[in-house]
Symmetry: C2
Subunit: 145 residues, 2 copies
């Protein structure tokens, strides 16, 4: 099934989906792990099964409402609410593997580097998707390991 078909497929508005999306939207700047969402909803007296959380997050990611990040090999995946898809079009993401913070930035150098990559690879080049690519590293506020 293609992404287009996925999005076209009927989707029901259930209590659980709303709870999960509300949780993510309550702090759009923050990343949540699936477990954190489970715990938060449980503490709010509206428990949702972990498998449901995973399934809903996958659906939300497919529809573009939520973005999934892999912060580091030591932690589980994190999910972040996407407030405005357009706002994400022209910048890149730096993610600190230590504290999980995401920094947005623009860079003319990067555009040049991507074009270089596109033409240098063979055969047919390689188109780099800047929106899908996340730069991992360490922010200035986190101590070096």
């Amino acid at each position: 099934m293609t992404d287009a078909e996925k999005q076209k497929r009927a989707r029901r508005n259930t209590r659980q989906k709303k709870l999960i999306l509300d949780c993510l939207a309550s702090d759009a700047g923050r990343h949540f792990t699936a477990d954190e969402i489970v715990d938060i909803l449980k503490s709010e007296g509206a428990p949702v099964a972990k498998s449901t959380v995973y399934r809903s997050l996958a659906a939300l990611e497919a529809s573009g409402e939520v973005r999934k990040y892999f912060l580091s090999e030591f932690s589980s995946a994190c999910y972040q609410f996407v407030a405005d898809a357009k706002a994400c079009a022209e910048h890149y993401h730096l993610m600190c593997v230590s504290c999980g913070k995401v920094v947005h930035f623009e860079s003319a150098e990067l555009g040049r580097a991507f074009r270089e990559i596109e033409s240098a690879q063979t055969p047919g080049g390689f188109f780099v998707d800047g929106r899908r690519t996340v730069f991992y590293g360490r922010c200035g506020e986190c101590p070096a390991e």
Copy 2:
């Protein structure tokens, strides 16, 4: 225990460690997963337990002889022999989101872009880890969606 202490600690040259390092060194340009190493050694008639492979790879990574990569959320960790620290310093990974192929490439432009990022971010800059960062996109052999 610090890294320095780890390296200073007695390390024994066992048959298994040699086999694993030989396997990695047999193709220094390639990434191997732990499972691949297990299979290769088994097929060569010198089986090594999977747990031993993992432990040895961790030790080799700690000592700098092997580098560990996390190429994607869909695959397990990959390990690459470090023939010459300099030789591996400046290469990056492109992963095709369509076919999953990983392409290695070198880029002076990217180094420049990373340095720009490091100094442009506040406070304290942002150190980009080129080993952890994977560029997602589409390779020339896969049709545009």
